[in-house]
Symmetry: C2
Subunit: 396 residues, 2 copies
């Protein structure tokens, strides 16, 4: 085993860093994995050893499956069409089993550790580590009386946080999407590098970013029995509302007090923002509009009011959100930023939902920012761009 350790150490350190061909190993690969590989034009080449398998496919989520072909050596290969730059979840389907690619690192999405592949965006390094001062990301465990459990959050502190102990910082609460967890914004999104680079450029205020686990079950409550209850049934809607209310209470009664008592925060509404992607955007609208005493910056990344907040109807600026939007001038004074974003290539139904909120706000003359990410779908590249546009507008 000592020999094995040394051999591994060599193998994994000295192999696979460069490829002489036009394809190079993806940055999301585990050490020494030559595959998957990515070409300069964004094609991905997959290769998996499965000598006895009958059928293998690459399963890009939300896209058609890519058939793999078996070679005489027992390796299966496939090459994709050019992919949109950014991060893509995928799995392999091998003889009916949906599994991860052993060549790629895992990323929590779809409720499991799924494979991910990064396609470089050649001209745009804003989400990569640059030669600038780096903040750090801390794992925090806080006890929540709301859920009766220890909960995990990741917290970004900006460069210089530890060396200027007299300084206090504003806080952005930043939520992941459905099926993801609190690790998503760092591992998939590179939020820490995006903030490092924005702060270094001088146009973004140094801030603390809190990335919390977006699911919650109230202390002492049993799981609801949803057996046989269809999607949208009253029982399921009730369960959903209960959970989302529990998360809201956790944020406002446990998480914010914890952060404000353990970090060097400017602990008032003028220095507190919340944003989230997809499900996290819906949660953001619920939490912030219920607590405008706590928040003054609001961001919905490919997810805003939606079903969680409004049910199955459109936004009514006159009556929704306890009337907060009824007076546009008063709202603009109270809420420093209301921000909506969507990818131009998102599925029509999702895009239409966000656009409808945008147009309702426009019609009611409610000041807000509407950002469209060109050529990207319901994916992390959209949300990285959202953060790049959103963060510089905060706390100015």
């Amino acid at each position: 085993m000592i020999k094995l350790a040394i051999a591994l150490l060599l193998l994994t350190t000295f192999c696979g860093a460069q490829s002489p061909s036009a394809f190079a190993p993806a940055s999301t690969n585990v050490w020494g994995a030559e595959y998957p590989r990515v070409s300069a034009d964004g094609r991905a080449e997959f290769r998996v050893k499965a000598p006895d398998a009958l059928k293998l496919q690459v399963n890009f989520w939300g896209a058609a499956k890519l058939e793999m072909v078996k070679g005489a050596d027992g390796y299966w290969t496939a090459t994709s069409a050019p992919l949109v730059p950014g991060f893509h979840y995928y799995t392999l389907i091998i003889d009916g089993a949906e599994i991860s690619d052993p060549g790629s690192h895992s990323f929590f999405g779809g409720g499991k550790d799924a494979s991910g592949i990064e396609i470089p965006e050649q001209s745009s390094p804003y989400y990569l580590p640059q030669d600038v001062p780096h903040g750090n990301v801390r794992e925090e465990w806080y006890f929540s009386k709301v859920t009766g459990s220890w909960r995990h959050a990741l917290i970004y502190t900006p460069p210089g946080y530890d060396t200027h102990p007299g300084k206090k910082y504003p806080v952005l609460y930043l939520q992941h999407g459905g099926g993801e967890d609190e690790t998503g914004w760092v591992k998939q999104g590179h939020a820490n590098f995006i903030l490092d680079n924005l702060i270094a450029s001088g146009n973004t205020k140094p801030m603390i970013v809190v990335m919390a686990y977006g699911y919650a079950r109230r202390a002492g409550h049993a799981d609801p029995d949803l057996t046989g209850k269809p999607f949208g049934s009253p029982e399921m809607m009730k369960a959903m509302q209960d959970m989302s209310q529990t998360f809201e209470d956790d944020v406002t009664q446990a998480l914010i007090p914890y952060v404000d008592s353990h970090y060097l925060t400017l602990a008032d509404r003028d220095h507190r923002a919340m944003a989230g992607l997809s499900m996290g955007g819906m949660q953001t609208f619920q939490v912030t509009f219920d607590h405008l005493d706590l928040f003054s910056y609001i961001g919905g990344f490919s997810g805003a009011a939606g079903q969680l907040v409004l049910g199955n109807r459109s936004l009514d600026p006159k009556t929704d959100f306890q009337g907060a939007l009824a007076n546009p001038a008063a709202f603009a004074k109270r809420v420093h930023l209301l921000w909506l974003g969507v990818g131009t290539d998102e599925p029509e139904r999702m895009k239409a939902g966000i656009e409808k909120i945008h147009s309702s706000l426009d019609e009611a003359k409610i000041k807000h920012v509407f950002y469209e990410s060109p050529g990207t779908s319901h994916e992390w590249q959209t949300w990285r761009r959202d953060l790049r546009d959103f963060a510089p507008r905060l706390f100015q």
Copy 2:
């Protein structure tokens, strides 16, 4: 997709927390995954959907493979014999492809994101989160002139670190094993919870723990071409020595200065320890004995001098380590702790190596601690126990 997100949210929050049978989902499972499940006596039951597969096995590393049996529903199942409590790496082999279990979280080992399963040790919660103050774990990126690259480390700061800014802390550098990375001590080892619990018990000094990435390539150097060079060849030994020297230089010239300038450390040898498991133990002996001006506490967990430091011969206390061990009384005064540990069930060859160093030290009357973890092999349960025994002896 919004519907999907909500459905996922419900599925993953409300399912799988309890099992009515004697088997319960493992704590290492992804959300909602009913399998693998663990019984009170430590058996593990696996279940995977693979309707078209011809053969499935559970591959516990270093043990015999467990054959899975296909049911009429397309699910394959297998139940293990009782397993030693603790963390076990495993993979699935499906028609010749070695892959991860979609039901389990992934843990970096063997150079990839492999599956892991936790078998509870009923009477021993020292590595689980308790109702005690928690430190936090920070992700740090530091630029190393030695490697010419940004390097990643995880850093544990003890409870109260942020709220007592005047206080300074001793530092333990704690290394992972071969094929693992800097995430291992937190994800597999639960080093943060072990320290939280030890510190709360009052018998362990609050300390900072630095967990670094244990591989390094010197800036500007190309990978050596080891094609066709057998294990143990002069070329491979040379490459190995180069890499280990580079890591040593990174620790002493980049990492320690970074930590001492960014954290509240007691920056002298009396308040600096290093320990590591397996390969990390070998690295510890090399780094610390080359730099007794920097370190005064040394721990080898299932790995000590070994081939990396000594080549293929035994320890000679009179001449090895630049003669540091030649005078036992002087050594005991200079090095406050020399600690060796091994699991009683480790493979004979590994155990023999550690025991030989232990007996060489005994014969030379060199003060040291030798700890045996009962009933465990070359595995994380051994190293958790090592840390539990080692940490309270530091900085007293």
